[in-house]
């Protein structure tokens, strides 16, 4: 076929084609060159290409889609973000960094039931892992931040986390440090140090914190020997009798074990008079519209109100006591579990679901007693253990936990 077609083109037209293509090539080259030069004028030093290493099992196309156009990934920005992430000077008394509660030694999560901030102040919610959080639809257990950038700004000024009075103070603190100032200018140009650029750098680093390449990913990829028989039985249960899959969605397009939606499974509903609590929260949230974000932040971390979950954000009764479906990768390393760290082991979690959660007026309609036998519970736990990435396991074995010692001045 091809041969025929090329024969059909006469020698005259061949010549024309050659001329034309040369012309197009020259024009194209000019356009590309000018584009590069325009681009490099606008953002001088952010053109270093960053080539992500997407581990086995994660969708490359989705990773690319979820990089915000206004915060492209560059190697220098990621390096800056990493430094900020581990820097205790970002907290008011220079004792706590992001990594304090998101510790690489425990898969970027926390061994404490609830976050412990400055002066050992206790929050009300368990610190989730940072791994794969770039794939979350909304951030925080109650989804009160839409992006990693917005999320990164909030613990900084939460009075019981990093305790900075406001974002201005955070910017001032970073500006005090000469090396940071230089780096910010070289990466963000004129914008320099602002709360937005700080958040952008941290978020960029977080977008490199990925978890894949687990025994389970190899199993799904076709290696039937990658996980033990017990885990294979667990996978059957996960998709069937144990009903896990109805919220912990897993498929090739979204391999994160979460539907990213909010459900009341009864963890929060114990011993609470929810309707009057909700009424009080609503009054408080409305009290000062200018400080709405700050009040929400405080309520979210105060015992009692915190248990209202998604309701604090939407103020819809259907969301009372509802929390985001947790992703399950590296789950073995991120104990304790649930939004308040109330379940100590994976076995406890499965037993909690087996009894149908805690009955309360707002209980999610998908919850019901599962009637799993003890061996079936054990199989599910075996399955959950295969979700741990090789890298997270290696780090858990080799890294020392983060310390709270003051940052050297």
């Amino acid at each position: 076929m091809r041969r025929k077609r090329s024969n059909l083109i006469g020698s005259k037209s061949k010549l024309l084609v050659t001329k034309l293509s040369t012309f197009v090539f020259v024009i194209g080259l000019a356009v590309i060159v000018s584009f590069i030069s325009i681009n490099s004028e606008a953002t001088p030093l952010t053109t270093q290409e960053f080539k992500p290493q997407i581990p086995l099992g994660l969708p490359v196309d989705l990773w690319n889609e979820l990089i915000p156009p206004d915060n492209p990934m560059t190697a220098s920005k990621i390096a800056l973000g990493e430094k900020l992430f581990f820097d205790k000077r970002l907290s008011v008394d220079r004792t706590v960094s992001c990594a304090t509660c998101h510790d690489p030694a425990t898969a970027l999560a926390d061994i404490n039931a609830v976050g412990v901030g400055i002066e050992n102040k206790k929050g009300a919610r368990n610190s989730p892992t940072v791994l794969n959080t770039m794939f979350n639809e909304l951030q925080f257990w109650d989804g009160r931040a839409p992006t990693l950038e917005e999320q990164a700004k909030l613990p900084l000024i939460n009075p019981i986390e990093m305790g900075m009075p406001d974002h201005k103070a955070v910017v001032a603190r970073v500006q005090e440090i000469p090396e940071y100032q230089k780096e910010f200018v070289s990466i963000f140009g004129k914008e320099g140090v602002t709360i937005d650029t700080i958040a952008k750098a941290i978020a960029s680093f977080e977008r490199t914190q990925l978890s894949g390449n687990s025994p389970f990913d190899r199993f799904i990829g076709g290696d039937k020997t990658a996980i033990p028989e017990a885990a294979k039985r667990g996978w059957e249960l996960f998709n069937g009798k144990a009903r896990c899959i109805s919220c912990h969605t897993f498929n090739k397009s979204s391999p994160f074990f979460s539907d990213f939606k909010f459900h009341d499974i009864g963890v929060a509903a114990k011993d609470q008079n929810f309707s009057s609590l909700a009424r009080r929260a609503r009054q408080l949230l409305a009290a000062d519209p200018k400080r709405a974000t700050q009040i929400l932040e405080e309520l979210a971390l105060s015992p009692g109100f915190s248990e209202l979950g998604r309701y604090l954000v939407t103020k819809q009764p259907k969301d009372i006591g509802a929390f985001k479906t947790s992703m399950l990768r590296d789950i073995e390393l991120t104990a304790p579990y649930m939004h308040n760290g109330s379940e100590k082991t994976l076995m406890d979690v499965v037993v909690f679901y087996n009894k149908g959660g805690e009955i309360n007026p707002n209980l999610d309609g998908g919850m019901r007693p599962l009637k799993l036998t003890d061996p079936e519970i054990a199989d599910l736990v075996e399955l959950l253990k295969t979700f741990t990435s090789d890298e997270s396991r290696r780090k858990a074995q080799n890294l020392k936990p983060q310390t709270r010692a003051p940052f050297p001045q």
């Binding site: 000062d288 009040i295 103020k315 309609g365």
Partner: protein, 378 residues
């Protein structure tokens, strides 16, 4: 400590409350107010604090009663179609009725009364009806009972009447004349076939069981209704409770009342008539001349929309998620306005509440439209 700070802010808020409410009055009707406020709230970065925005249990201040004309406005609530089996057979339906009771009891302020919309039991068994009566005793507000076919066709109402009284009656409340009908009478299809009471009950309990007759109010009760209405002024607002829709929607499922036209004719001389009905387990709105019709939600299961005959004014609710056993269910409140018309709120359990206003029906769908369904039935 933080709570103290909040306490102070709360005080400030309560002081400013009057201003907020005045702002809303200026905005016009309650419904326009809701709209305007939504905009305001959006501008104020998601802050929201008016009664109109507050879904069921969490009302702060009562601004519904901003009466522009006529009598004193008020609110009543409803629970309907619980279809109880005995607890050992089906605990879920029991729990769902209990949830509705908890919802209504948490309303603040409390409604003037609660309408129970019929089909308390599934097969009219004594165990079912008595269980229902026991749960409904926990309702704080006074309760008005209506009967459904599932409560009736085992013993033709003997036990129901013993437990709850007359199956049809009328009463006056704050200037509105209320009528509760027994609209699920059926012509005798059982004697000729020599059916047992249980066989009769089971046939009637099948929505699509064509062996039964059509629902009707019946001649005797229509005569009673005519007599009852004879003493009522034509300008008095009338609210009718009926288990079946008092119009003809879809006969194969008895979304239907056979003598609907005759009943409507009796109601026609009155200026303002509203019918609240059960049986259909869904958001359903209609208007025929001077009569507005509203369906009620079930606490047991939602029905699909009828394949034909859906009223033009009905804005369907999103179709329920079959994987979630409380989807498409709920309860709700009815605000009776100063002019005797009603605004209907459907409090769906897993969703945001849905509003169908008097203005929407009055304008034949020209204004104040309820939010559109994003997931229509197939």
């Amino acid at each position: 400590m933080i709570p103290l700070k909040w306490e102070k802010r709360l005080q400030e808020y309560l002081q400013n409350r009057e201003l907020w409410i005045k702002e809303l009055y200026k905005a016009g009707s309650f419904w326009e107010g809701r709209r305007k406020f939504l905009k305001m709230a959006a501008m104020a970065a998601g802050v929201a604090a008016t009664n109109s925005l507050l879904p069921h249990s969490f009302q702060l201040v009562d601004i519904v009663n901003a009466a522009p004309q006529g009598q004193q406005p008020f609110t009543f609530a409803y629970i309907s179609d619980s279809h109880l089996y005995e607890k050992t057979l089906n605990e879920r339906f029991v729990r769902q009725l209990e949830r509705a009771v908890a919802d209504i009891n948490a309303l603040d302020p409390q409604p003037d009364f609660v309408l129970y919309g019929g089909d308390l039991a599934q097969l009219a068994q004594p165990g079912e009806l008595k269980l229902g009566a026991q749960i409904l005793k926990q309702v704080r507000a006074p309760i008005r009972m209506m009967v459904g076919e599932h409560d009736w066709f085992l013993d033709l109402g003997d036990l129901w009447k013993e437990l709850f009284g007359k199956p049809y009656y009328s009463f006056d409340h704050k200037g509105v004349h209320f009528i509760t009908l027994m609209s699920v009478n059926e012509k005798d299809f059982w004697t000729a076939k020599n059916l047992s009471p249980m066989q009769r009950m089971q046939i009637v309990s099948g929505l699509d069981d064509g062996r039964q007759s059509s629902f009707e109010v019946g001649e005797e009760e229509r005569e009673w209704l005519a007599r009852d209405l004879a003493n009522v002024s034509k300008t008095t607002p009338i609210v009718v409770f009926s288990h079946s829709p008092l119009y003809k929607l879809y006969k194969p499922w008895n979304f239907w009342t056979d003598d609907a036209e005759q009943v409507q004719a009796l109601l026609k001389p009155f200026q303002t008539v509203t019918v609240i009905h059960g049986h259909t387990h869904q958001v359903l709105s209609n208007r025929i001349d001077n009569i507005h019709f509203h369906g009620m939600l079930s606490t047991a299961w939602p029905w699909p929309y009828a394949p034909q005959g859906l009223p033009k004014l009905t804005m369907q609710m999103n179709r329920p998620d079959p994987f979630n056993q409380t989807e498409g269910l709920g309860d709700g409140i009815i605000d009776v306005l100063g002019n005797g018309r009603v605004n209907k709120r459907y409090d769906l359990w897993n969703r945001n509440p849905l509003f169908v206003s008097a203005q929407y029906l009055d304008s034949n769908g020209a204004s104040d439209n309820p939010s559109k369904t994003a997931l229509p039935s197939y």
